[in-house]
């Protein structure tokens, strides 16, 4: 489904995001290499999912795209505009171009603002001075996310809303500036099962209606197939596999993706009867990641004298790009 003809909205080349560790508040004590060489293009109207465990660098990658972190090395182009190192006002304006849906809807809303004020803030900050115009746009966006009747919700404070309603406000805020790209960071992981699907469907509806490009970040492989066209799997600061969603879910190639799929349960009483095959150990430190393939210490199919020495690069295998020597 990936449409090569579509124009590129966001282009990321060899992106590194490192955080310096300090000792005594000033001495250097190494780097946390949260994102270590990530490359991909995102097209207009495209949805991609980034899947990985906590600490794999997906949040740092996302925050860098949002302009909240500074890239250490590499290039980010948004609409052919180099936005790798904007400062001050330019950075502020860049941030406003991307919608952001957060994980914890209650935390994402200032507790002392009502819904109207929350939704007005981005407009005020980005120069919509006319209050009538602001209210018109607030009402419109509330209709979009089905916070209706609007008058019932306009003056409510976040704590008076249910989790699902809070997340609708967050989504409304993300799209009120009419962005071309929305980043959704685990938008449903803190919601109840019965609400999750509702929010995912709402997001998908908005995406289709406005031809939004969406980066969907999640640790849950099972929701990915309802949302995205392409999936990137991240492990220890690297993207280890990129593939169209159907192909990735049914036929994962990287041993880590395989492990991830094997560990993800569907509701089935037979689960209780079998043990799951899992890679041993835990993800490595991002301060001193293992040499070669970062997954090699846990990998059941590692190739001696190769995987622990040479760092794998993106290798084409069917319609997948896999950073794994098995596919060389």
């Amino acid at each position: 489904m990936t449409d090569k003809q579509r124009d590129v909205l966001l282009s990321i080349q060899d992106l590194h995001v490192w955080f310096e560790l300090r000792r005594f508040g000033f001495g250097h004590a190494g780097y946390v290499k949260a994102v270590d060489g990530v490359t991909f293009d995102l097209h207009y109207g495209e949805t991609i999912a980034i899947v990985g465990e906590s600490g794999c660098g997906k949040s740092s990658l996302m925050k860098t795209i949002l302009g909240l972190n500074k890239p250490t090395r590499g290039a980010i182009k948004f609409e052919n505009l180099d936005v790798g190192t904007p400062e001050g006002e330019a950075l502020r304006q860049y941030r406003a171009k991307i919608g952001y849906v957060q994980q914890d809807p209650f935390g994402a809303l200032a507790p002392f603002m009502n819904v109207q004020r929350i939704l007005e803030e981005p407009l005020i900050i980005n120069g919509v001075k006319d209050p009538v115009e602001r209210e018109r746009r607030v009402r419109k966006v509330m209709e979009e996310v089905k916070l209706t009747p609007v008058d019932d919700f306009l003056h409510k404070f976040p704590h008076m809303l249910s989790g699902g309603q809070q997340q609708r406000v967050v989504i409304a805020r993300a799209i009120i500036l009419e962005p071309k790209l929305v980043v959704a960071d685990e938008p449903v992981s803190m919601l109840d099962a019965s609400v999750r699907v509702e929010i995912l469907k709402l997001l998908r509806g908005l995406q289709e209606k406005y031809k939004l490009a969406v980066i969907y970040i999640t640790h849950d492989l099972s929701t990915v197939r309802y949302f995205s066209e392409r999936v990137f799997v991240m492990y220890a600061g690297n993207v280890v596999e990129k593939a169209p969603v159907g192909s990735l879910v049914h036929n994962p190639k990287h041993p880590y993706t395989v492990a991830l799929k094997d560990a993800t349960a569907d509701p089935d009483a037979n689960n209780a009867l079998t043990y799951r095959e899992l890679p041993p150990g835990e993800p490595p430190s991002l301060v001193k990641p293992p040499p070669g393939c970062r997954f090699h210490p846990r990998c059941p199919r590692r190739i001696e004298n190769l995987c622990e020495v040479e760092e794998p690069y993106d290798i084409q295998a069917d319609d997948h790009l896999v950073a794994c020597w098995l596919y060389k």
């Binding site: 955080f19 005594f24 993800p283 430190s285």
Partner: protein, 377 residues
């Protein structure tokens, strides 16, 4: 910052053996704190000196006094009677210049202040201008040393009684949440908005003025009793009112705060867990409520000491208690710069030492305290 990624690193971070022993960690931490606190104390003392003599108010007052004293002493001295008025005037001027030199008034302010700072830091506090110690010495150090025990006696007694009684009573109340005693404590806690001297007035009024059972003030009867036992008893009698004033003025709020604090901490998940584990109530209180809150308890003890150190000036004045606070007050009344700076320095040192001890003990009881921000959580 990227807390998420940092968390991932700590689980596996390799640590050197020394860094990981409690002693090593505490020593390294304490050393760093000692250096920073040292700098802090130096700056604090220098600021004190600047405030004490900024704009030269004290200099002017001192010059006037020198002029008056010198003139008078020469006029009163029969040896100089025979001199002509001009010669006498000349002699006076010479004497004044000599005296000003002796007190260092001829040098520029900055060099004087630096000299003062060095002296102050080495506790070389100089000679007082007007004040004497009881033994007649003009050495500021001796004057202050003479007064220090009285302050320590009052502060120590009041602090210790106040602190331990309120913590333990609070612990008891937190066990009996909602009881009548608990409610009374809550209701009385606003009484702590008044300072010790305020309660001192009432205590003096009742016990000294009306009932005549305790003295109005002072450290010991006049004349002091001959035997050391009698002396001690007399001091104790004089101690009751000021110490009570200090304790009363903080007691209820202190108990209320501790009680609330313990209640909040006893609803932590790990306390629930300890209850679920079926540990005896005593163990839970000791290991799961007191132990994790020890850093906070210690901090509060230190803050109490700090606030009392500086709060004693008035209490001591009201009770005529011959401690550092009253000395400071008297010195200011007499414009005695060396004594003012001296006592402020002693205060700054005492505060610095208190803060340092606090940090040291804090590091000892809280395994999470480390030097630098590398892997804090």
């Amino acid at each position: 910052m990227a807390t998420e990624t940092i968390t991932a690193t700590t689980g596996q971070a390799k640590r050197e053996a020394f860094a990981h022993t409690t002693l090593g960690r505490v020593l390294r931490y304490s050393l760093v704190r000692l250096v920073t606190l040292g700098v802090t104390v130096v700056i604090g003392i220098y600021l004190t000196i600047l405030i004490a003599n900024m704009g030269g108010y004290v200099d002017t007052i001192m010059r006037n006094e020198i002029r008056d004293n010198t003139t008078q002493s020469i006029l009163a001295n029969p040896a100089f009677r025979s001199l002509t008025p001009e010669a006498r005037e000349k002699l006076i001027q010479e004497k004044i210049a000599l005296e000003e030199k002796r007190l260092g008034l001829d040098k520029p302010f900055i060099s004087r202040s630096i000299k003062y700072l060095v002296n102050a830091l080495t506790l070389n506090l100089g000679r007082a201008i007007n004040m004497n110690s009881d033994s007649g010495s003009r050495q500021v150090r001796l004057i202050l040393l003479e007064r220090l025990p009285a302050t320590l006696l009052l502060a120590g007694t009041a602090d210790l009684i106040l602190f331990f009684s309120s913590v333990f009573i609070a612990l008891g109340l937190s066990r009996r949440y909602g009881s009548l005693l608990d409610k009374i404590t809550i209701a009385l806690s606003p009484t702590s908005s008044a300072p010790p001297w305020f309660y001192g007035i009432f205590l003096i009024l009742i016990f000294a003025g009306i009932l005549h059972v305790l003295p109005f003030g002072g450290l010991v009867d006049s004349p002091p009793p001959e035997t050391s036992f009698g002396y001690g008893l007399s001091v104790l009698k004089h101690l009751i009112l000021p110490a009570s004033a200090i304790i009363i003025s903080s007691f209820f709020l202190s108990v209320y705060n501790w009680r609330t604090f313990f209640l909040i901490y006893s609803s932590e998940d790990y306390v629930d867990m300890a209850r679920a584990k079926g540990l005896p109530a005593r163990d839970i209180e000791r290991r799961y409520i007191l132990r994790p809150t020890l850093p906070t308890i210690i901090t509060n003890f230190a803050l109490l000491v700090i606030s009392l150190w500086t709060g004693f000036t008035i209490t001591e004045t009201v009770f005529l208690w011959p401690g550092l606070g009253r000395t400071l007050f008297q010195a200011i009344g007499l414009y005695d710069t060396p004594v003012i700076v001296g006592s402020t320095i002693v205060y700054a040192y005492m505060l610095g030492i208190t803060v340092f001890l606090l940090d040291f003990v804090y590091a000892l009881v809280d395994p999470r305290v480390k030097v630098g921000g590398g892997n804090q959580q």
